[in-house]
Subunit: 347 residues, 2 copies
């Protein structure tokens, strides 16, 4: 990482919540430890909040909380990662939220499948996209807007949820209360919080966060590629104990149980995780996911000898994608799935 | 603030949670929005965890969760602020957690009053301090230690709690599960999390966080003054809407309802809050605290005209203490209760 961060970057780091690395130990991230990325203020929505579903539909309608709970519901355990996770590791660095590796977590979301909700309003055949509008309002690069994102109809599957509960409790304010979208397998920007309105469109959505934000761009004039599914990635649950200021780890010599998490996007499972010790790779044990969209645990035993070492882990998914040694640099600092390296001292 | 922050400072900002400023709107901070300051990793303690109370007592004993719940219990709403809150605003800046203003929140804690717990073990007359030992372990400035702090017997009052619930729910891991100390009216360092052991001492406690950390020091050779109660302070709930990157606020012209929070330490109420607009001060309305140790709401109406403005607020407590215009600088960056200044643009 570059040595110096701007006051604005610090401000964003303070305004959003990062998963403390030791919290990788939990299969389901406890309340309050799940990462957050809020573009603007957390809105104060009332319990009487209603969700409008309108646009290219035959029967536009506003749904109360009770209306939604009367529809079919399901609970999905899903790992969600911010598209900007790892941005602090890209040089030069885009001026934005300077995530290191903690913008990822796993939760159990309960809500109505989007397909069931859309069945209530009957999209017309011309509908090609579903846009989700949040209540959060502010500026980005001089453009005033409510946060909003869309999905193509083919992506608006039964697996997308309009959720009102997280880990069995009503959504907390910072996670979208009272209602949010959850799009499993995608980077987090698709999972719009504080949902006020679903709009069926007969044309592609042109909101700021859809066409300007969340694009992979190699150069200012270059062709943008939309950010979509998460990429294959893995992290190490830090062994040993930390130093307060540097967070450098101190580990006892001998047989050390190492473990961590691995995930990919679009419901593709991780099939291989390798542990790197001082540059030498060997296979770790990787466990199946508890559910299709949940991260997987990996473990390996390391015979640690006294001295300075570098640990690393590298995942490969069932589609053959493998983490690269270095970030695939892009202007916005999106989608960094480079191998994590963790220096440790063994005593 | 200085323009440049070190990677280690960013790492701490990511590892701890800051109250988003708009969350000042809640009388009681919702779960997951309360600030956290964890010196080391969040420990993974089991439900079978027992609390040992020992040392200068007649009847040392280990308490299970059920044992503790059989004792008298109470719920206290208390505002807690980190002693380092505002550190980022002190120049030169101590290399530590670079809080701006968000290391404060209010929660309802449920537990057994310390006096009732100590009644079970009967401290001997020679006992002068109560030390609280946490399970969290790591290094600070080369010293390996479990986080631990003490209170003099005169401070170990009935108002100190050994708490197992926050906002009516079992403690979350990051807030000390399954058991923590809550010392109302003090800066947060006194409220030891992940409590494993209470030790009655016939001499002052000499732990690192007691005698080295959490001291006001003007110079390396100078006499340290222990950090104790919170100082009088107030904050503004940001009006209008933010810009994503700068968090600069944009406010609509006209009658603007401004509000915020004010608190002091040791249960002393705030008696006056002044609103500053472009350097001119006038009284705001300040409401009584919901409970002795809870922050107080203040409000004022501002007739905002288009242009650039600076808002500020300044509290005075019943003991006559008033917020200073500039921080009372000290080496560790502790106890910054300088007046908050908030630039806003009115359109």
């Amino acid at each position: 990482m570059d040595g110096a961060f701007a006051a604005e970057e610090l401000g964003l780091a303070l305004n959003n919540a990062s998963l403390p690395p030791e919290a990788l130990r939990y299969d389901v991230t406890p309340l309050g430890l799940h990462y957050t990325l809020s573009h603007f203020d957390i809105p104060a929505l009332k319990a009487s909040h209603r969700l409008t579903v309108e646009g290219a539909v035959q029967r536009p309608r506003a749904f109360s909380a009770a209306d939604l709970r009367a529809l079919p519901q399901k609970t999905v355990r899903t790992t969600m990662e911010c598209a900007g996770n790892g941005r602090a590791g890209m040089t030069p660095r885009y001026p934005s939220m300077p995530w290191t590796s903690g913008a990822v977590a796993t939760a159990e979301w309960t809500g109505v499948p989007l397909a069931a909700l859309l069945g209530q309003v009957r999209p017309v055949p011309e509908a090609v996209e579903v846009a989700f509008h949040g209540a959060d309002l502010g500026f980005d690069s001089g453009v005033e807007h409510h946060y909003a994102r869309s999905l193509a109809m083919r992506d608006a599957t039964d697996e997308v949820l309009v959720a009102w509960a997280m880990n069995g409790q009503p959504l907390l304010p910072q996670h979208g209360a009272p209602l949010r979208v959850v799009v499993p397998g995608w980077y987090g920007m698709a999972s719009v919080k504080w949902l006020t309105r679903i709009e069926l469109l007969d044309r592609p959505f042109d909101g700021y966060q859809q066409v300007v934000g969340y694009q992979y761009r190699k150069a200012a004039g270059g062709e943008p590629v939309p950010v979509r599914h998460m990429k294959v990635k893995s992290l190490i649950t830090p062994p040993g104990i930390p130093d307060w200021y540097t967070r450098r780890r101190l580990v006892e010599r001998g047989q050390v149980e190492l473990e961590g998490r691995a995930w990919s996007g679009a419901g593709v499972p991780v099939t291989r995780v390798e542990l790197g010790v001082d540059g030498a790779w060997r296979d770790a044990e990787v466990f199946p996911p508890a559910e299709k969209y949940a991260w997987q645990r990996w473990r390996a035993v390391w015979n640690a000898v006294a001295g300075e070492h570098e640990l690393a882990c590298r995942a490969t998914d069932a589609a053959g994608a493998r983490q690269p040694p270095e970030p695939d640099w892009n202007m916005g600092g999106m989608g960094n799935n480079a191998v994590q390296r963790m220096p440790v001292t063994v005593r």
